[in-house]
């Protein structure tokens, strides 16, 4: 059984990576779809399978079982959609440049889903993170770069926190970082609280959980649909997945942290609702949706931490929940994105047509440009109509460009203070 599935496992991860290279020169047709096929096969393939890879990093492995298949299904669906969406805007030359990143991100995602231990998960999710960065900024405008920068900072800080957690886990278990082993080992050690804090902080940052969600809102403003679609679903799902897999839920009761997390979840939902009403543009809707929904999940996590019994009761729901959550968010983003696209499509395409089609679709172009102008007027009118007061409120929460900067650094600094406090506590 394992022998049969061996190659496919490898392909799943290595396939997209290998495809990334020819994709640099766009030599392969349909590279994005091609890359997803192995994963698709894996879903269809019946039965559980696992593969140990002792030679990789500190020794890791891949495995498919019922739980993983849920997530896999969600991922494949989301990625397929994204690939298709992206395919439709083929004329965009940024497409070719984005493809490698798309593939890298895909590889990271799939690898993280399949990994059977912490290091594997960490490595692949890091790959995914940097891939996302590429996807976010590949459009290349200033807004995108700003978003990318923010995203990067969060990503790096998150990785640091997770790295820390990893070290603690490795120290406790003596190098074996299988999920099961770690969960059990961490339940009974003094450093488990530090580990929890670190891992939670890391995943919070990665998933864009309030109050460290900021990269999400900025990114959504500027990224193309194929990216936002992914951003909407994948990171949140992966963040939650990571948290569920890394943390000894159900085995440890950590009331304080649980409560803190629950409060954060509530606050996130409140915040999202508030913002949704004040921050009217349609594009941003998925953002607030995401924030709100993740708030919900965070509440769930907090509850699990505070009351392990509750967690154990509903544990069987975890993976379907994560998968459906991801799916839902992606769908939400996609839907709104399509609407958005419909309105913005002429703007983009017209310019491209003008540049790219020398054989004269002149008439059509003129008409479309006229329509575009009208649309622009409409949009500015609409913007002017917004209440001044709303803008004032908005500033309280989101100050725009300076805020991005401040948020980024404050999050980092908090992180360090946090680390220090916990160490002091540990040492004392």
């Amino acid at each position: 059984m394992n022998e049969d599935i061996y190659g496919i496992f490898l392909l799943i991860v290595v396939g997209p990576l290998l495809l990334a290279i020819p994709a640099l020169h766009s030599r392969v047709p349909w590279p994005r779809h091609l890359a997803i096929i192995p994963a698709l096969l894996l879903i269809v393939f019946p039965g559980d399978a696992s593969l140990a890879m002792p030679w990789f990093l500190f020794g890791t492995g891949f495995a498919v079982d019922g739980e993983v298949r849920w997530i896999l299904v969600m991922s494949v669906a989301v990625w397929l959609t994204a690939a298709t969406v992206a395919k439709s805007s083929r004329r965009n030359p940024a497409y070719d440049r984005a493809t490698p990143f798309f593939l890298l991100t895909l590889a990271g995602n799939l690898g993280a889903v399949l990994a059977t231990d912490l290091v594997g998960f960490f490595s692949f999710s890091t790959l995914m993170g940097y891939g996302f960065y590429g996807l976010v900024v590949h459009a290349g405008d200033a807004e995108a770069r700003r978003a990318g920068r923010l995203y990067l900072i969060f990503l790096i800080v998150a990785d640091l926190a997770l790295f820390e957690a990893l070290l603690l886990a490795a120290l406790t278990t003596g190098g074996n970082l299988q999920y099961v082993v770690v969960r059990q080992a961490m339940a009974g050690t003094s450093s488990s609280q530090l580990y929890l804090w670190m891992a939670l902080a890391g995943f919070a940052l990665k998933a864009g959980i309030w109050p460290v969600h900021l990269w999400l809102s900025t990114t959504f403003k500027s990224a193309p649909l194929s990216t936002t679609l992914l951003l909407g679903g994948v990171p949140v799902a992966m963040g939650l997945l990571g948290a569920v897999r890394w943390l000894p839920f159900g085995e440890i009761a950590f009331y304080v942290l649980g409560m803190v997390i629950m409060v954060m979840g509530v606050a996130a939902i409140l915040y999202a609702v508030l913002m949704f009403f004040m921050h009217a543009p349609l594009t941003m809707f998925p953002v607030w949706g995401t924030v709100a929904v993740t708030g919900l999940s965070v509440m769930a996590l907090g509850t699990g931490l505070a009351h392990p019994a509750v967690w154990r009761q509903y544990e069987y729901l975890t993976y379907p929940f994560i998968a459906s959550l991801g799916m839902f968010l992606a769908a939400l983003t996609f839907a709104i994105g399509r609407l958005q696209d419909k309105r913005q499509a002429p703007e983009v395409d017209l310019q491209r047509v003008e540049v790219l089609s020398p054989w004269g679709e002149g008439g059509m172009g003129v008409i479309e440009r006229w329509a575009e102008d009208r649309l622009l007027i409409l949009r500015s009118l609409w913007r002017d109509l917004r209440l001044k007061a709303v803008e004032q409120y908005q500033r309280i929460f989101d100050w725009g460009k300076p805020a991005v900067f401040i948020w980024g650094w404050s999050a980092t600094i908090t992180m360090f203070v946090f680390l220090g406090l916990v160490f002091a506590w540990l040492a004392g």
Binding site: L24, H25, P54, W55, F56, L57, F58, G59, R97, V119, F122, S123, T126, L127, Y130, G134, V137, H138, G140, R145, G148, R149, L152, I156, V157, D159, L160, F163, E164, L166, L167, L168, A170, L171, T412, F416, L419, G420, F423, L426, A427
Partner: protein
């Protein structure tokens, strides 16, 4: 006839002889020179592989020549020696290929390659040294053979850089000499011994030993670019790219770092050193260097200078690893010797490619270069991610063991240093990557050369790709039996912490 005793000497000779011959070749004997260079490198590689196999199976390779009445010149291939030796040998081969491409048609090639081979000879000698005086000998030879390489361009800036290099290294060499002699007068031996040879020394010598340690570390710290002895390194950037690559990745800085490893583990013995209380200050010094180098790197626009400050920072990981004085951290430090070498040499190769192909010297000129030279920049990206410590590039492995080792040794503060350094590394590398991959190129490159439909010459492109792949492979395959990590663990078990 015991051939095992000759192999270390042959390893030395395999670069020394070609070097000496090359000095006397006419400038236009390109083919012969190339053949000599590559043949030497390949022979050396073969010998090293042979010894790797042998040492793993407990063979002993040792050459002894009398140097002073009671002191011998000892060349010995132990596991630690072989780690550094293998690194030097492989990178010499790669760098030679690169240099052949890089120096196409530039003047004084014979001189360059001659000193280049001498430099490698010295590095190999440093690696194989079996006692402190042999180490000192090759260490100084390294100083002498790199100086001409630093000033190779012959400009005023180069001359000043060379002067700065000399002032630092001569000064350092003097301190090292002093420490060595002093140690010798106390112990009467200088032989590198697993777990040190000072254990039997009386209590009354402790203050002297502390000073000796400081002297040795100061002497080695110059080459290892420990703050505040790092001043020469950024200046030495005026040298041609292969030199910078060799200087920063293999030869010079590594010789310093390797020396520090030797001093702590084979001269003092790590437990003894920790007992003296000297490792902790060293760890702090290394930490300071790590942060300082990264901070300085943030503000450099000149690409090579940025890389140089990055080197300052990264090399101190090695020092930090051994100064933490625990078995796991040691593995991290020692394996970083190799990892940093591969990653940094990749980066320098790429920087050289940019300069040679497009005339790019500054970060601010790199906009959109990823599209013009995708392969080069891919290699660069891998190297940069390795530096940041992102998995699965080799740098991750080093950081992992360093962090784990620090926790194990109860030195939690090191985690902050690592985290801070990673952040800073990201802060100065990621903008480069961003600019290269995502920004629109400018209208024209500063000075563009065309190489047919390739992005650059093969000899320039292959080396960074090879080293980048190796850096990647060493990270991904860290658990494979003959990976540097595996070997570092082997070293730690066999030499440093054998019960």
């Amino acid at each position: 006839m015991n051939w095992d005793a000759w192999i270390p000497l042959l390893v030395i000779a395999s670069s020394l002889l070609p070097g000496l011959i090359i000095f006397f070749l006419a400038e236009d004997r390109k083919r012969l020179r190339t053949t000599l260079n590559l043949a030497g490198a390949l022979v050396k590689l073969a010998l090293v592989c042979w010894m790797l196999w042998g040492v793993y199976h407990e063979h002993h390779y040792e050459t002894r020549l009398t140097l002073l009445p009671d002191l011998e010149l000892v060349l010995r291939a132990g596991p630690l020696s072989l780690l550094f030796l293998t690194l030097s040998t492989i990178l010499w081969l790669v760098t030679t290929v690169y240099a052949i491409g890089y120096l196409e048609d530039s003047p004084h090639r014979s001189r360059f390659f001659g000193f280049f081979s001498l430099c490698v000879t010295a590095t190999v000698g440093v690696a194989l040294s079996g006692n402190l005086i042999t180490f000192l000998l090759f260490y100084e030879l390294l100083t002498l053979s790199t100086y001409p390489l630093v000033v190779h361009r012959g400009t005023e800036v180069a001359r000043r850089a060379g002067q700065s290099y000399l002032v630092h290294t001569i000064f350092g060499g003097a301190l090292l000499l002093l420490g060595t002699v002093w140690l010798y007068t106390l112990t009467g031996t200088l032989e590198f011994t697993p777990r040190g040879f000072l254990n039997d020394l009386g209590e009354e010598h402790r203050p002297a030993l502390v000073i000796i340690f400081a002297l040795l570390i100061a002497g080695l710290g110059v080459k290892a670019a420990l703050v505040p002895l790092h001043g020469w390194l950024p200046q030495a950037m005026v040298a041609p790219a292969p030199v910078s690559a060799l200087l920063h990745a293999v030869a010079v800085v590594k010789a310093g770092a390797f020396g520090i490893v030797r001093v702590i583990y084979d001269v003092f013995g790590v437990d003894f050193a920790a007992g003296l209380g000297v490792t902790e200050p060293l760890a702090w010094l290394a930490a300071t260097t790590i942060i300082y180098g990264s901070l300085r790197a943030l503000f450099q626009d000149d690409l090579k200078r940025r890389l140089a400050f990055s080197t300052i920072s990264q090399v101190s990981y090695i020092t930090l690893g051994v100064a933490i004085a625990g078995p796991i951290a040691t593995i991290g430090g020692v394996v970083h010797l190799v990892h940093q070498g591969l990653m940094k040499i990749t980066l320098f190769f790429c920087a050289g490619n940019l300069a040679e192909t497009l005339g790019i010297h500054k970060v601010s000129e790199m906009s959109g270069v990823g599209r013009r030279m995708p392969w080069t920049m891919t290699a660069f990206t891998i190297g940069a991610f390795g530096m940041i410590g992102a998995p699965p590039v080799a740098g991750f492995i080093s950081k992992w063991y360093l962090g784990l080792g620090a926790l194990e040794a109860g030195q939690e503060w090191v985690i902050f240093v690592l985290a801070g350094s990673s952040l800073l590394n990201a802060a100065y590398f990621l903008p480069i990557l961003h600019r290269a991959w995502f920004q629109e190129p400018q209208d024209a490159w500063p000075e563009e050369h065309h190489f047919g439909n390739k992005e650059t010459a093969w000899a320039l492109l292959l080396p960074p790709l090879v080293t980048a792949l190796m850096a990647l492979g060493m990270g991904m395959l860290a658990s494979a039996p003959f990976s540097p990590l595996g070997w570092a663990q082997f070293i730690s078990q066999r030499e440093f912490y054998r019960p």
